[in-house]
Subunit: 380 residues, 2 copies
C-alpha cells in the first residue's frame, strides 16, 4: 500500500485493485473500464442492491462511517476513489491516513460545500453568479437585498439534482425558503440569465499531465441532465477560457483523476451591439460526470478509463473526439424501451443493470453519432 | 427459463443473466460487454484463477462433466454460451435439455471435429484444402499418396494454436507422425500455398438477422495469432464470396451468436496471365474470435456485444467500421510493457488481468488506429 505523500511509488499496475466508494452507475462504469486495463475493482457501498456489485466479486456492504469496514477496505486495495462528492470528510480523512485517496480530501471538501466552492472560485478570479453566505434569516434578507431577486437559496451541503434548493422571487418569500431548507447553512445565488449550460470534463495525472475533452452543451429537465451535445458550439475564446479555468482548478486542488466543471454561458454587451459570450462557473464535480458519458462511444479513452489511468498513475490516454454526438439519459420507464433503443442505427446504448425502475431514476444512456454534425440538430 | 425449442420467448432482457462456459479472456470480454447492456454474467470454469471471475460475482468453479454443478448453473441463468469450441458434447446436450444453449450443440459438434467440419464444407461446395479421413496408419499412407506432400496430419479433436499437428514432408515420415499423435482419429490436409490468411467475423440473431464485420488479414507466428489488419485488402469478389459462405454456414447450422471463419487466400491462374484470388476455408470457431478484437475499438458494436445481443434475442447492432486498424496481441512478457503501450498515441489497450505470465500466453491486445490507412503499413 502506498500513501498520497509518497506519490512517486503510487502506481497501480495491471493485477492491482482500486477501491471505489459508491456503487451506482458511475462506480460500475469505472469498474468496467478498470477491467479493460487488467485492474480489479472493489466496491464499497451501504446499499446491497448497488448496480456496481454486479461487475466485480470484490465488495464491502457497510456504512461510510463504519471504521472497521473502512480499515479492511483500505487494506484490500491499492488506491481509493469515489463516484460521488458527498463522501463524509471524516471518511476521506480516515482513508487518506491509510491508503492513497484520489482525488484528494481537499478536492472533496471544496466540492461538497457550495460556499467554500464559490469562494475558491472567487479567490482565483473565476467568474460565478453573485452569491452570499447565509447562516441566519437576517443574513438571508441582507443577501436578497444585495443580490436581488429572483435568486436561489441552496443548502451549502448535500444538494444534488435540484434537491435542497428554493427559488426566491420576492423578498417576502425569504423566510419561507429559510424554513423550508430547515435553517441549515446556505448560500444565496443570484439567478443567472444564461443562454446555455456547458460542461468541461478534464483529467490530471500523477505527474501533472492534463487531458481535456471537448465541451458538452447540456440540457436539464427538472434539474436532471436530459442530454448532452458535443461540440458545444462555443466561441473559441470561451473554450480557451474554460480550459484555463480547468487548469487552474486542477493545479490548485493538486487534483488527480477526472474532474467536471459546469458553466453557465451568458451573453454580454459591452459598449458594442455585438453580444459576446462569457462563462460563469456553476459548480464542479470531483469525479466522472454524466455529461461525459459520450466519451465512451466517441473517444479512444473514455472518461472512466481516463479516471482509472490517472488514479493508478498511468499515462493519460487520448481525449480526442471522433464524431459529433448527442448523449441522452434514459430516465425511469424510458429504459423499458431498451429493445427499440438497441435497434436504432448510430446509437450506442449503455444500461446500468438497476433492478428497480423509479420515476426520473437514471437507468441508462444512449450516445447517438451525428453524421451530419450538430448544426442540423435541435439543440434545445 | 426458456428452451431452444421455444425461441420466440427466449429473449433475455436487461437484468437477466447469461451463463458462459469458460473463464478466459473471451469469457471475460463477453461478460464486460453484457454488463454494458445491463445483463449479468455467470462464469462456469474449472480453473479458480480464471480471469473472467474478476468481472462478476456470479461463478461456478467445477469440471465440465460435473452434472450437479451444470444443473445448478442451468437453473441460475437465462441462456448459456461458451468461449471455446471444445465444450464436451455431453455437456452441451445436458445443458441444451435444461436451458437455451447458443450457439447450438450442432455448431459445437461441427466445429470441434475437423473431419466433420471439412465434410460440412464440402457438402456445401465450400472450397477447402484437400483432406482425407485417417483412422489407421494404412489410411494415412493412402491419404499421403492421394493428397501428396507436404501435408499436415491433425487430430480430429482438441487441437488449437498448432497443438495436435504434425507436418509430413515425405511418405517416410507418415508412420512417425501417426505415432506422435498417439494414433488418434486424424485428418490429413494438403498444405496450402496461401498468399495470406483472412478471417470473417459475423453474427446471426434469433430472427435470422445477420451482421458482418469487415474481413481481417491475420498473421500467425508459432501458430498463434500475432496481429490482424483491417481491411484485409481482398478483391471485392472474394469478399462477396466470404460473406456468401458465412451466410450458408449460419443458416445451415441454425446458428445464433458470433461465428468466425478463417480462410486461406490462394492465387490461381486459369488460362490468363492475370492471377486471381480464391478463398479456401480453413476452419470455423463458433464463438467470438481473437481476430475480431479490433471491433471493440473501431465499431459501434463490438463482436462481444454483438454476441450478447444475438444470444439474448436482441436486435443486432451496427458492425460498421470507423477506421483502418491493426490489432496486435500482447504475448507473455510483452504485457510487462503496459506503461509504454498505454502511452502510445492512437493505441487502445486491453489487458486481461491474468495473474501469471507465461511464454506465448495471450495477456492482452492493442488496437492501433491507422490514420493514413493500411497501404503504408507493412502487412507482413
Amino acid at each position: 500500500m502506498t500513501h498520497e505523500n509518497d506519490k512517486t511509488v503510487a502506481t497501480v499496475p495491471p493485477g492491482g485493485t482500486i477501491g471505489i466508494l459508491g456503487g451506482g452507475q458511475l462506480g460500475r462504469m469505472i469498474a468496467l473500464s478498470a477491467a479493460r486495463l487488467g485492474i480489479n475493482a472493489h466496491i464499497y457501498c451501504p446499499d446491497p442492491n448497488s448496480p456496481a456489485f454486479d461487475v466485480t466479486p470484490r465488495k464491502t456492504v457497510a456504512a461510510y462511517d463504519d471504521l472497521a469496514a473502512l480499515s479492511d477496505f483500505a487494506g484490500a486495495v491499492d488506491v481509493v476513489t469515489f463516484e460521488f462528492e458527498n463522501v463524509p470528510a471524516e471518511t476521506a480523512e480516515f482513508l487518506s491516513a491509510r491508503t492513497c485517496l484520489r482525488p484528494n480530501a481537499l478536492s472533496l471538501a471544496v466540492a461538497q460545500d457550495r460556499l467554500r466552492e464559490k469562494t475558491f472560485f472567487r479567490d482565483r478570479a473565476i467568474a460565478t453568479a453573485p452569491f452570499a453566505d447565509v447562516s441566519s434569516e437576517t443574513d438571508l434578507l441582507e443577501a436578497v437585498d444585495a443580490i436581488g431577486t429572483p435568486a436561489i437559496l441552496k443548502t451549502r451541503r448535500l444538494g444534488y439534482d435540484g434537491k435542497g434548493q428554493r427559488r426566491i422571487e420576492t423578498r417576502q418569500q425569504a423566510a419561507d425558503a429559510w424554513q423550508a431548507l430547515k435553517r441549515q447553512p446556505c448560500i444565496l445565488e443570484g439567478l443567472v440569465n444564461f443562454t446555455s449550460e456547458v460542461s468541461l470534463v478534464l483529467a490530471r495525472g500523477v505527474n501533472g499531465e492534463t487531458a481535456f475533452y471537448d465541451l458538452a452543451e447540456n440540457r436539464h429537465e427538472n434539474h436532471i441532465l436530459r442530454r448532452s451535445v458535443v461540440p458545444a458550439g462555443l466561441a473559441s475564446d470561451c473554450t480557451r477560457r474554460a480550459r484555463e479555468i480547468g487548469e487552474t482548478l486542477l493545479a490548485d486542488l493538486d487534483y488527480i483523476g477526472v474532474l467536471a466543471i459546469e458553466f453557465f454561458v451568458v451573453e454580454t454587451r459591452s459598449g458594442s451591439d455585438i453580444p459576446s459570450q462569457k462563462l460563469l462557473v456553476n459548480e464542479i464535480a470531483p469525479r466522472v460526470h454524466n455529461s461525459g458519458h459520450w466519451t465512451e462511444a466517441a473517444c479512444p479513452t473514455s472518461q472512466f478509463e481516463q479516471h482509472v489511468r490517472a488514479i493508478c498513475g498511468w499515462p493519460l490516454g487520448s481525449s480526442e473526439r471522433y464524431f459529433d454526438v448527442r448523449m441522452s439519459n434514459l430516465l425511469g420507464a424510458e429504459a423499458d424501451g431498451w429493445a427499440d433503443v438497441a435497434a436504432q442505427a448510430d446509437c450506442i446504448p449503455h444500461l446500468y443493470g438497476k433492478s428497480e425502475t423509479r420515476d426520473g431514476r437514471k437507468m441508462g444512456h444512449i450516445t447517438q453519432i451525428l453524421r451530419n454534425g450538430v448544426d442540423i440538430v435541435e439543440r434545445n
